[in-house]
Point group: C2
Chain length 232, copies 2
C-alpha cells in the first residue's frame, strides 16, 4: 500500500548515508498522502508531529501575523521541510500549503528524533541540511535589508536565469502574486517593478521573461555570491 516512495526519500542527502536498519525504522510508520491544491498542510504554532517530504507537486511556506501574510519559500520535489521544528520538538514557525496537487511523505517526528539520537551519520546529514537552510535564510535577510524592491526583483530574475542555464528566455516558476510576496512587495508594486526593468532589457509577457542582455541587468542588480548563489 505504501508504494515506492521509499526510494525517493532515500535519495535525499538527508537519508542517503544512514544505515538500512535505521532508514527502515524511520519508514516504518511513515506514509504518503496525496493532496489537492490549496490545502493547508500545517499551520504555524502546531506541534511538529511529522517531518514532511515533498515527493511531487509544489508547496508554499508562509507565515501570518495580525491578518497579514507573507510567503517565505517555495518547495519543490524532492525536499524536506520543517526539519528544525522536528529536531527541536518545537512548534512550526511557518505554515505550509500545497500550490498544486502534491504527494507528501510524512515521517513521524518522534521517529526522526529517535534515530537522530542514535545514528551519528544521520545527525551529520541533518547538520549539513540545517547549515544550508540557515545560510539560505541569512542570504534572504540580506537581500531584504540591503536592497530595494527593484534590486530584489532584478537579482531574482538573474537567479532564475542561472537556474535555466542562462537561457535568454524562460518562464517564471511562480505566480506573480506569490513572487511579490516572496520578494516582500505588493502585486501592484511588482507589476511596476517589471516595467522599471524594461530599460535594462527585461521583457515580460505573462510569465515569459526575456533578458536581452544579462550584463545590462547585472549593472543594476549587482548580484553577489554571498546573497544570490545557492551553493555558497
Amino acid at each position: 500500500m505504501p508504494d515506492t516512495f521509499f526510494e525517493d526519500v532515500r535519495s535525499l542527502h538527508l537519508f542517503s548515508k544512514m544505515s538500512a536498519d535505521n532508514f527502515a525504522d524511520l519508514m516504518r510508520a511513515a506514509y504518503v498522502q496525496n493532496f489537492p491544491p490549496q490545502i493547508e498542510l500545517i499551520s504555524e504554532g502546531d506541534p511538529s508531529d511529522f517531518l514532511h517530504v515533498v515527493l511531487s507537486g509544489e508547496v508554499d511556506l508562509f507565515a501570518r501575523w495580525n491578518n497579514r501574510e507573507t510567503s517565505l519559500a517555495t518547495l519543490r520535489p524532492v525536499s524536506t521541510f520543517i526539519l528544525a521544528a522536528t529536531i527541536r520538538d518545537a512548534p512550526y514557525l511557518m505554515s505550509a500549503r500545497t500550490l498544486e496537487k502534491s504527494r507528501i511523505a510524512l515521517i513521524p517526528s518522534q521517529d526522526v528524533r529517535a534515530v537522530f539520537d542514535t545514528d551519528g551519520d544521520f545527525a551529520r546529514a541533518i547538520v549539513a541540511e540545517l547549515a544550508l537552510a540557515y545560510r539560505s535564510v541569512v542570504k534572504t535577510q540580506k537581500d531584504l535589508k540591503l536592497r530595494s524592491s527593484l534590486e530584489r526583483l532584478a537579482n531574482c530574475l538573474l537567479r532564475q536565469q542561472t537556474r535555466v542555464d542562462g537561457a535568454e528566455e524562460f518562464t517564471l516558476p511562480y505566480e506573480k502574486r506569490r513572487l511579490a510576496s516572496l520578494l516582500g512587495m505588493t502585486p501592484e508594486n511588482l507589476s511596476r517593478a517589471f516595467k522599471g526593468l524594461q530599460p535594462y532589457g527585461v521583457r515580460v509577457a505573462g510569465s515569459q521573461i526575456t533578458i536581452a542582455d544579462r550584463k545590462d541587468l547585472e549593472s543594476l542588480a549587482k548580484p553577489s555570491p554571498l546573497i544570490d548563489d545557492f551553493l555558497v
Copy 2:
C-alpha cells in the same frame, strides 16, 4: 599561555557533552585573543578558518552590499558564531566586529569539522545549535516582512523587558544607531518611532526606557511567541 578559557568554552551546550578527548583535540590549536573595540574580526566572503567564541565583550554581526550596511545580530558571552560556515567549509556570509573590548576564542575550522566527522554527540549538539539559530533567523524574517517599523520597535522593547524579568524600567542594550539598523530602519526614523510609542506609555531618556503599562504597549505590538519568544 592559553589561560583558563577552556572552561568557558566547555560550558557551552555545543561542547559540554562531547568526550574529554575530543574536546582536547578541539582545543589543541585553539587560542584566545583580546581585541579592542571596532575591530573587524571577519569579513563576509573570507574562508571560514576559525569557529569564533565570544568570551567577553560584545560582537556585531553585519553585512554589506553596494555601499550599504546592515546589522544582523549582536553576540554576547558566551556564544559561538559562524558555525554554519565552519561546518559547510563555506565563506562567511556576515562580517563581525567588536563593539567593545572583547576576548574571542578561535578554534580552527578544520578541527571542528574533523571532530564533527567522528563524534556523534558533537554532531548532535551542533544540530541543536543550528536548529535554534535557523529558527531565530526565520523569526526575524517574519518580523521584518509582517510588521511595520513601529511595530518592530514596540515588540523589540517588549522582548527587552522580558529579558529583564519584566522590570518597568531598563536600559537599552544597544546603541540606538545600531538598534535602528537591526530593526531595518534609519536612526532618524527610530527617533520618531520612539515618539510614536509615547501614546502607548513608552518613556525614553537616553538609553533608559520606561514602559508604563505593558498591556497598553502590547495592544499595539501584538507580540507572538512564534516571532518574539527566544526559546520557542
